[in-house]
């Protein structure tokens, strides 16, 4: 397809990028990956199919898309850092006039780390574990600048200081494992920037990081971009990450650029049906409305072979015969916005207000090949969980009660540990909460806050070292073997990684039947009948019983995970990050399914997640955890609208939301610093080391829970944000 290249991007500010130069021009790039299918047959994946992008010097471009959309391939192809089997089949990648797609390896080596720097997703695995960070940061200088070791070290230290690594001189001799995740990513950024490149490619730079750390890293990248005047390609699956950090966004789907526009325009008036559907599937959009999430049915294309027509047509509610047979040409949105282009025959209306009001209609279309969506009945009962904003959510009786639960782990020491470094890790420090029958209690917190430990104790997989876990009034810790087995019928777990939590050598039928077999429920025929029932409930075909877990996609596996959890008809399901590994469109399917099943069966969920938007959408009541303690609990709507704890507020202000308010300034102060080690928690209030309001009192006395604002809204803080809450 001969592309009409989009015109030079609009200047971000008056002085930023005038019409003149193009730093990077990707022109009609085609890329294939040779590999093998499940049966070992050779197959070629057409990962990129005519991708064209332009980037001006100093400009920031966001590449968004779900997994497999080709966003990472596009970014990595610039440097020729493609995985084995991947090959550019046609097209050009012009960096300042040099075609990198055709350039020999030595030329590419001269570009890598020199005029183009890269930051990858996982800062731990991306750094060499056996090399000091000083040596790793200095390396590009030795390669490209021809400087001596001393000079390289000096410059490396300077760069580490620039990226905000404390005491860079001492840290030069540290190894990656001695740093926190955020610090590691700073090191990775320093490594990419040490030669002051003109272009920085950041491939999901914050996906492996916590909300607050993510914010700090993104701020840092933005700041350094200004300072060094470099261009940025920010690759992310997360619309919230992209929203505030780039000038222009390209949305990718199925190896093609679906839509391209200046960031504000794309977020307020997307035209391509895929972009629109993606936004509608965001839990932020449905939070508090009581409406089910709009979902995109089916799965992204596998890109084996080149399908005719629009790549999104099989999943699109607006697709017509034309879409399935002809490839939509790239067109310009309207006369006054030449830099907004999309490839769609039936674009959404340009009117932004219509978009905001338009309810989820996309999920009406059910493709035959995909798992049917369980949210088809979603429209009938929007009020069922919307009453959460009331004083106490559903008023069912208490099902699960955690009473001042504590958990300490003894640190296992290695042969080279010094004795004074050995102390127990306080994972959960006195958490009390209740989950009522039929409600969803959401637990939010960053990694290491103890939320998963809490979940395991709630199920009875781990005994608390203090306090009590009561289920239906019965102490779980005191149960004998038989009692514990009976208890397992009533409480089940759902994991983040369903694949890792299923025996890869067992067929799905056996996996789902196992809980029934263990509990001795029914004979074989009855069990198999129950398995078929479960598959119906989670929207998978009966044929699934003969297949193995690896034959399913991430979303389908999560359906299996839910089916297994429901096999024994429990009254409580503890779901630990059940949608964190999923793409937005699939995440919406699972969230809707969980909600529908809850309504049908009167289930309770203890829903654990780091994702504020997801918790806000699903939970009736929430608890916010920080470093082992529950700092705030209350009705979800109340907590999110009027947070009382400084941590909750910081978290809310730090989280990158994909909902772009027109010109809404970002007030408040995002959380600075890092979570201290649970082996050495701060005295008094555990949050005080990062709290702007902390005083002497906070260091000496742990705060007791109180309800200063509304009944049922508890906060553990000496200085709750009552005034602010009222004013806000």
């Amino acid at each position: 397809m001969p592309t009409k290249p989009p015109k030079a991007p609009a200047p971000r500010t008056a002085e930023a990028a005038p019409e003149q130069g193009t730093l990077l021009h990707i022109d009609d790039l085609h890329l294939t990956i040779a590999g093998r299918g499940r049966a070992g047959e050779e197959r070629t994946v057409h990962a990129l199919d005519g991708v064209s992008l332009r980037l001006a010097p100093g400009e920031a471009l966001g590449l968004v898309g779900e997994s497999g959309s080709g966003k990472t391939m596009t970014a990595l192809s610039v440097l020729g850092l493609l995985p084995p089997g991947a090959r550019v089949t046609s097209g050009r990648i012009l960096l300042e006039g040099t075609d990198l797609a055709a350039a020999p390896e030595p030329v590419l080596r001269g570009v890598r780390g020199n005029s183009v720097g890269v930051v990858f997703q996982d800062p731990l695995s991306s750094l060499n574990p056996t090399m000091t960070i000083g040596a790793q940061v200095a390396e590009p200088l030795l390669l490209h600048r021809g400087v001596g070791r001393a000079e390289a070290r000096e410059k490396a230290e300077e760069t580490l200081r620039m990226v905000g690594l404390p005491q860079p001189g001492e840290r030069m001799r540290s190894y990656p494992h001695q740093l926190s995740g955020g610090m590691r990513q700073r090191v990775a950024i320093a490594m990419a920037l040490v030669c002051e490149p003109r272009l920085l490619i950041a491939d999901e730079p914050t996906t492996a990081l916590d909300v607050t750390t993510q914010h700090q890293i993104l701020e840092l990248i933005g700041e350094l971009r200004e300072r060094l005047g470099m261009a940025l390609v920010l690759v992310s699956h997360d619309l919230g990450v992209i929203a505030r950090r780039v000038d222009r966004v390209a949305v990718m789907y199925g190896g093609k650029v679906a839509e391209q526009a200046p960031v504000r325009r794309l977020f307020t008036a997307p035209r391509h049906r895929y972009t629109r559907a993606l936004f509608d599937a965001l839990p932020e959009r449905a939070a508090g409305t009581g409406r089910p999430l709009a979902t995109i049915p089916g799965l992204p294309p596998t890109l084996v072979g080149t399908p005719a027509g629009c790549r999104f047509a099989p999943r699109c509610a607006h697709a017509t015969e034309e879409c399935r047979t002809q490839e939509p040409p790239r067109r310009t949105a309207d006369e006054d916005a030449p830099d907004h282009t999309y490839a769609c025959f039936h674009p959404a209306a340009a009117d932004a207000t219509e978009h905001a009001a338009e309810p989820a209609t996309e999920h009406a279309a059910e493709p035959a090949d995909a798992a049917p969506d369980a949210d088809a009945d979603g429209s009938e009962g929007p009020a069922a969980s919307a009453d959460a904003a009331g004083t106490g959510g559903p008023t069912g009786d208490v099902l699960l009660e955690l009473d001042a639960v504590r958990k300490e782990y003894a640190l296992r020491s290695g042969p080279f540990t010094r004795r004074r470094d050995r102390r127990p890790v306080s994972a959960v420090a006195g958490v009390s909460l209740t989950v009522r029958r039929g409600e969803t209690f959401g637990i939010v917190g960053e990694s290491g806050c103890g939320k998963s430990t809490l979940g395991r104790m709630a199920v009875g997989m781990e005994d608390p070292t203090g306090g009590a876990v009561r289920f239906d009034g019965q102490d779980v810790a005191g149960l004998d073997r038989a009692g514990l087995r009976a208890h397992r019928r009533r409480v089940q777990l759902m994991f983040q990684d369903s694949y890792a939590s299923m025996d890869p050598r067992m067929r799905v039928g056996a996996i789902l039947r196992e809980p029934l077999v263990i509990q001795g429920i029914g004979d074989r025929a009855a069990q198999e009948e129950r398995v078929r029932e479960l598959l119906d409930e989670v929207g998978l075909p009966h044929g699934a019983v003969h297949r193995y877990p690896h034959e399913f996609s991430g979303g389908q596996r999560q359906r299996l995970g839910l089916a297994r959890a429901l096999a024994l008809s429990p009254s409580l399901v503890v779901a630990d990050e059940p949608v964190s590994a999923l793409d937005v469109s699939v995440q919406a399917q699972i969230l809707n399914l969980m909600r529908d099943l809850q309504r049908e069966k009167g289930l309770s969920y203890l829903f654990i997640s780091h994702d504020l938007a997801v918790v806000r959408y699903l939970a009736d009541r929430v608890g916010v955890m920080y470093l082992g303690s529950l700092v705030e609990t209350g009705p979800a709507a109340e907590v999110f609208a009027r947070p009382l704890h400084p941590y909750t507020r910081g978290l809310l202000e730090t989280a990158d939301s994909a909902v772009v308010d027109e010109d809404a300034p970002r007030e408040g102060s995002p959380l600075a610093g890092e979570t201290p080690s649970a082996a050495r928690p701060p005295s008094g209030c555990r949050f005080r080391t990062r709290c702007p309001l902390a005083t002497e009192l906070c260091a000496t006395t742990p705060p007791e829970p109180s309800e200063p604002a509304a009944p049922g809204h508890q906060v553990s803080c000496h200085f709750p944000l009552v005034e602010t809450a009222r004013a806000g």
């Binding site: 080596r109 090399m131 590009p140």
Partner: protein
């Protein structure tokens, strides 16, 4: 670190005690016993009883073991019945030679196996990889004694390039003075080690090449060779180092076969001869040395880990 070493030394002593106990008991279950072995098949029962009384063999086993331990603590490993020399002297004479043989073999093996493994990993799936992998399998599957025989037939008889017998000098220096005689024993021992090490090296390098940090290193603009030398090599050597330590006891048993085949005057040959003549004190002495080597090997593994992998050093 010092605490760790002390702890490991303590563990080692317990292991050695158990080893000596097991060996002691097993040896005393052998038919005939040392008296018959030493006095010959025609010895009268009276002579045997007299010998057993002199050696304390008529006492109960625990008492005998107690006596043995008592002497052991003072460094007295007993005296060889056959060679009429203190076992300690014999070991002092033979051990360095075995160390020389195994040391040379391991060094040769490491020098060849590491580059071979890297080569196979880099050429993965190509002809050279298949040929080398196939050769390694053959070498690994061939018993040492057979390999030695083939080498002797080939390079000592068909093409007499090297002597079929190892140097018989009394000292290590004397052995080193005849390097030609060392070639066949060392190569025989080294081949199997090369085969195994290169397999491990190949997979360790392949594992590391798939790691993200290699992509990062490439993204800095480093050449393939530099990435290999500066980044992959050290990380790939970590599993190999542990393998070497745990392989040490196996090396000693390999030495036993090679030494007896090439008549190399090392500890293996000493053990072989002692085993044939029920020379208990020697057998016990050699077994203890192998026990020490085993414990030492696993200790070396731990230390090598810590040296190569900074994550182990500061494990919490």
């Amino acid at each position: 670190m010092i605490r760790f070493l002390l702890k490991r030394t303590g563990q080692a002593l317990v292991v050695l005690f158990l080893v000596s106990l097991i060996v002691f008991v097993l040896l005393h279950q052998l038919p005939g016993g040392p008296a018959r072995a030493i006095l010959g098949p025609k010895a009268t029962p009276e002579a045997i009883a007299h010998f057993n009384h002199l050696q304390g063999y008529d006492r109960s086993l625990p008492v005998q073991y107690g006596m043995y331990l008592k002497r052991l603590v003072t460094g007295d490993l007993g005296e060889s019945y056959k060679l009429n020399q203190p076992v300690l002297t014999l070991l002092g004479e033979r051990l360095p030679k075995t160390l020389l043989l195994t040391g040379l073999s391991v060094v040769l093996a490491a020098l060849l196996a590491v580059p071979l493994g890297i080569l196979q990993a880099v050429r993965r799936g190509r002809a050279s990889d298949y040929v080398l992998t196939g050769a390694a399998f053959v070498a690994y599957a061939t018993p040492v004694f057979f390999l030695g025989l083939v080498l002797i037939l080939g390079f000592a008889q068909q093409w007499p390039l090297f002597p079929a017998e190892a140097p018989q000098s009394e000292t290590v220096g004397g052995i080193l003075a005849e390097p030609a005689g060392l070639v066949l024993p060392v190569v025989t021992m080294a081949l199997g080690i090369i085969a195994m090490f290169s397999r491990y090296m190949r997979s360790a390098v392949l594992d590391n090449l798939g790691e993200d940090y290699v992509r990062t290193a490439r993204s800095k603009g480093q050449s393939q060779v530099r990435v290999m030398a500066r980044h992959v090599l050290r990380n790939a050597l970590i599993p190999l180092a542990s393998l070497l330590g745990l392989y040490l006891p196996t090396l000693f048993s390999g030495a036993l076969v090679v030494e007896s085949m090439f008549n190399y005057p090392g500890m293996g040959l000493l053990f072989w001869n002692a085993a044939q003549s029920n020379d208990f004190p020697v057998l016990l002495g050699v077994t203890l040395v192998v026990g020490v080597a085993t414990v030492l090997g696993s200790l070396l593994t731990d230390i090598a880990y810590a040296v190569l992998d900074p994550r182990i050093r500061s494990v919490s």
